[in-house]
Assembly symmetry: C2
Homo-oligomer: 562 residues x 2
């Protein structure tokens, strides 16, 4: 109780760690009614003072997540409901994710282009199951002019559009309409395009990066002559996403096919990568859809085959979004804030000069400038090192904690003694503490720059290994009955946001469909669980379906999810 | 008349140049009523057949412009009124412009971030002159849900928003709102940010790239402690735009300050770069605004100075958009299509194998593959050469004309004899013809790759020199009276879109303001003219104002404009 109270009180307060904390805690504790409460509160404050963040993962995972978003300077809420402002540090991470993925999208033969933000209402109605799945919450443009009426700026009632326009929630219909014009003969196929864009879905409950009204993403759209070609494309891009998640974001994922009830509206099959967050929930981090000829038939996308016959195209679509940043936070973050894999860290190395407004400051700055220049000349992961020298006019102790919270992989603190003795004092963000103590290592400056690239590679690898061990170690495979699974996860209530960490369950199932699958879904939903995906490359199934008791055809992952 | 008819008839027809043209022209001519008309039509067709494009700049500049957009595969109209689809070749040009500018924006200390697409109506009303200038034609989101009523997808009337949201036409107000939160002390200044985004202005008359309802741009927004700092920033970014236009787009510009009546709504001063199109019109290609404390006062953006006093920030904003691509077309295009400066050409070198479905095709392809690999290993302008081997299954003659129209700087056609003799046959797009004849040069393959980077540099320079000579040679400075200027431009009617090429006039003026300036504006408008800018770095003025007869204070540029 003391812990929760303490955390609630200081959630919006950014303590200069270790400074004034004791005094403040005592002062607040004195004003509490119960002495017992006060003591517990004081202890809680004391323990929190030892962290760079004001709340721990264990105490309140959602509050911890929001604290990282805020205090790592990633994003903030905007005055527009459900829309966020992505701040430079957060946007820098997104740009690095974009660059890594964009390169892979090009290397697999796709070209970028750009389609309109708006979709005519009638387009959305073309593919029946697509509209069914999506047509609920969207931003609708109905007017095109403002007017000052009685001194008040308002919508001009005379400017109503003939046909309302929807702000794109996804672009299958508007891009399919272009495909219809672009495709004539088999020679025009495949069409392989991608766009980086903003999309809007009017979400009721939003959470920074994970579910926002507007978000940024890429959406790939392709058209092919045959089912085989389109399926190959779908799986190829799924593999690109796996590689992006694991090699770039250091976020291990389960790769598989979504069950029927979790398919993209209008798709024949949907595949996903699912990552395990530190609270044991699954995060769907990317999807790739084989759309069959559903959209082609709805939009008349046909080609003349070599035989002369007119055939419908097979289409695909696939996307990842700024949601990935939420995944990075919940995969790598700790109680001191974010930890960024070096490949997506806007600054891989930050140098903090320990200035004290004294004459020796000049020598420290020169030393730091040289160090920065030397490090910037090195390469890691095939690109120049991203090095930042933080000269901002704030206390260097605050700078340390700012960069720790932001998750910069390597932090170098340079004081007068370092400068005088040719040393650097290094903090490795992935190994910040030994118990409560900060690990900071003095290293000779000479030769440090040449070892920095390997250090970054090691940090990238260490973060992946840690997350991979967590994923592998927390998929329960021994449960053979529904009752066992239900008991494993325990009963859930609407309020139980955090719950004990239970990871996922992998269980055999018979791939029920239709109403039988609906019953399974309802059963799971009562425990706030859902079917994630059926991992690719499975061995032949054994045992019986935990839902139907029939012989199993494959294993499926079951989890709570974002 | 025959010419115009011919052009209108074949505007949407892409002739395989020189093939079947004669036959077709004769066939059509025969069906025309008048024999004379038929002969003139045949001659017109014959002349057009010699070009890769179906209309000339001289005959109809706007139609020529649209033909380049279409036939160079840059963009196409979408089913959404006023919105375009930017196709891969056009988007590739935009990505290269983005990369070049983004680097400069970073190097000048700015950070990228992302703000919401939507702006609450009340925000727009905050700055009085801003809303006055902008609050007319915008896309307004009024509802957030669709619903199927009587089997028809429609806007759910129960989903009206409490406050309508405007799709951003520009982001001063939403970003200023964040600045208010971000700025506390002088230590937080300057704030230097930029975003790459889509914006929407509900334009009544649209033209691809030049004026579209939705367009892509970057908008920089900064906050400073003093007027001096903000003015320095405004001019610094203006210089970045000049460098982008001239060094990257090879598009020479006049750099100056806009007169009062052409300022950004809410700005204290607006600066622009203006480029001269081949029809003599001016294109405002980029603007940089010093906003004074206008937005800061409207939005309460204040900082605590070192003295302890609360002061208003001085803010700036600056932007360029996909309109630049329209500028590139009208600066460099010719009657064969687009000519791209190598720095923004998605493919700088295109290799077309002259395949004939014969056994020797294999040797040609091997030869081309080797050539591509060798060229891709070279660098130009500090980046690897962008080389494309066009293996598409269409006739190689068509490929030639496709790439000529798309403006790829160097085209290499490799036939069996080239492959056998170790040669390449090169077409330089900036020097395509000698009279009507195509200049194609046979060059030994050995050593060609090492000369390719210099060739590209030379093409970049040649395109700039040509445009620079046009700009410098077509600014009339000798006119000292309004009557002289009016006579120079001649009377204009609403229909006179093309007119004779007259370039611009540079004339002394007394910088009138208020109603006196309004009268000048009206006078100019009657001749479809406008004030462009007053060039920076002028010598002391001489003579009298052409509008008021008072002593001049500076020179101003007068032109027709896009």
């Amino acid at each position: 109780m003391g812990q929760a109270l303490a955390e609630r009180l200081i959630l919006n307060w950014q303590p200069p760690v270790g400074e004034n904390g004791e005094l403040l805690a005592t002062a607040i504790a004195k004003r509490l009614d119960s002495v017992e409460e006060g003591a517990s509160f004081r202890n809680a404050i004391r323990s929190l003072m030892q962290r760079a963040l004001s709340v721990t993962r264990e105490a309140d995972f959602p509050a911890w997540y929001q604290a990282v978003v805020d205090q790592a300077d990633l994003a903030e809420t905007s005055p527009v409901r459900g829309c966020m402002i992505i701040k430079p540090w957060g946007y820098g991470v997104w740009e690095l994710i974009q660059a890594a993925l964009d390169r892979r999208i090009r290397e697999t033969g796709h070209e970028n282009c750009y389609f309109p933000l708006f979709i005519p209402l009638s387009f959305l109605a073309q593919e029946a199951s697509h509209v069914e799945g999506f047509a609920k919450e969207m931003a609708v443009v109905t007017h095109h002019r403002l007017k000052t009426i009685d001194g008040k700026l308002t919508v001009d009632p005379d400017s109503a559009l003939e046909e309302p326009l929807v702000v794109r929630p996804t672009s299958e219909t508007i891009i399919g309409d272009a495909f219809r014009r672009w495709v004539n003969s088999w020679r025009d196929l495949p069409i392989l395009i991608n766009q980086w864009a903003n999309v809007v879905r009017w979400e009721m409950r939003t959470r920074m990066f994970l579910r926002t009204t507007e978000f940024l993403w890429q959406e790939g759209h392709t058209a092919h002559a045959t089912q085989a070609d389109a399926t190959e494309e779908t799986l190829k891009m799924l593999e690109v996403y796996r590689e992006l998640a694991e090699d770039i974001l250091a976020m291990p994922v389960a790769v598989g096919e979504k069950p029927e009830n979790e398919r993209f509206p209008g798709a024949v099959s949907t595949f996903s990568i699912e990552a395990m967050m530190q609270d044991g929930k699954a995060l769907q981090a990317g999807t790739s859809h084989y759309l069959g000829t559903n959209f082609a038939k709805a939009q008349n996308i046909r080609y003349q085959a070599a035989s002369g016959d007119l055939e419908y195209c097979h289409t695909t679509s696939w996307g990842v979004s700024t949601r990935l940043i939420g995944g990075v936070i919940m995969t790598h973050g700790d109680d001191d804030g974010l930890r960024l894999p070096p490949r997506i860290a806007p600054h891989q190395v930050v140098i903090v000069p320990m200035l004290r407004e004294k004459p020796e400051d000049a020598a420290i700055l020169t030393y730091c400038d040289d160090l920065r220049n030397e490090l910037s000349g090195m390469s890691a992961f095939g690109a120049p090192l991203r090095v930042h020298l933080d000269k901002k006019a704030i206390k260097s102790a605050n700078k340390r904690w700012d960069w720790v919270r932001r998750g910069t992989p390597i932090l170098l603190e340079i004081g007068p003694r370092d400068a005088a003795n040719g040393m650097v004092t290094m903090i490795r963000r992935d190994r910040l503490r030994d118990g409560d103590k900060i690990i900071s290592t003095a290293i000779p400056r000479s030769g440090f720059a040449t070892t920095a690239p390997d250090l970054l590679v090691d940090i990238q690898r260490a973060l992946f290994a840690e997350a991979k061990a967590r994923l592998d170690g927390n998929i329960q495979t021994g449960l053979t009955t529904w009752e066992g699974i239900a008991a494993y996860f325990g009963a859930a209530t609407e309020d139980d946001e955090t719950g004990a960490f239970k990871g996922w369950v992998r269980a055999p199932w018979a791939k029920p469909t239709g109403s039988e699958l609906e019953a399974v879904e309802a059963k799971l939903k009562a425990l706030k669980l859902s079917l994630r995906n059926t991992p690719l490359g499975q061995n032949a199934p054994t045992g019986t379906c935990v839902f139907t008791g029939r012989p199993a055809v494959e294993d499926i992952l079951i989890a709570r999810a974002y």
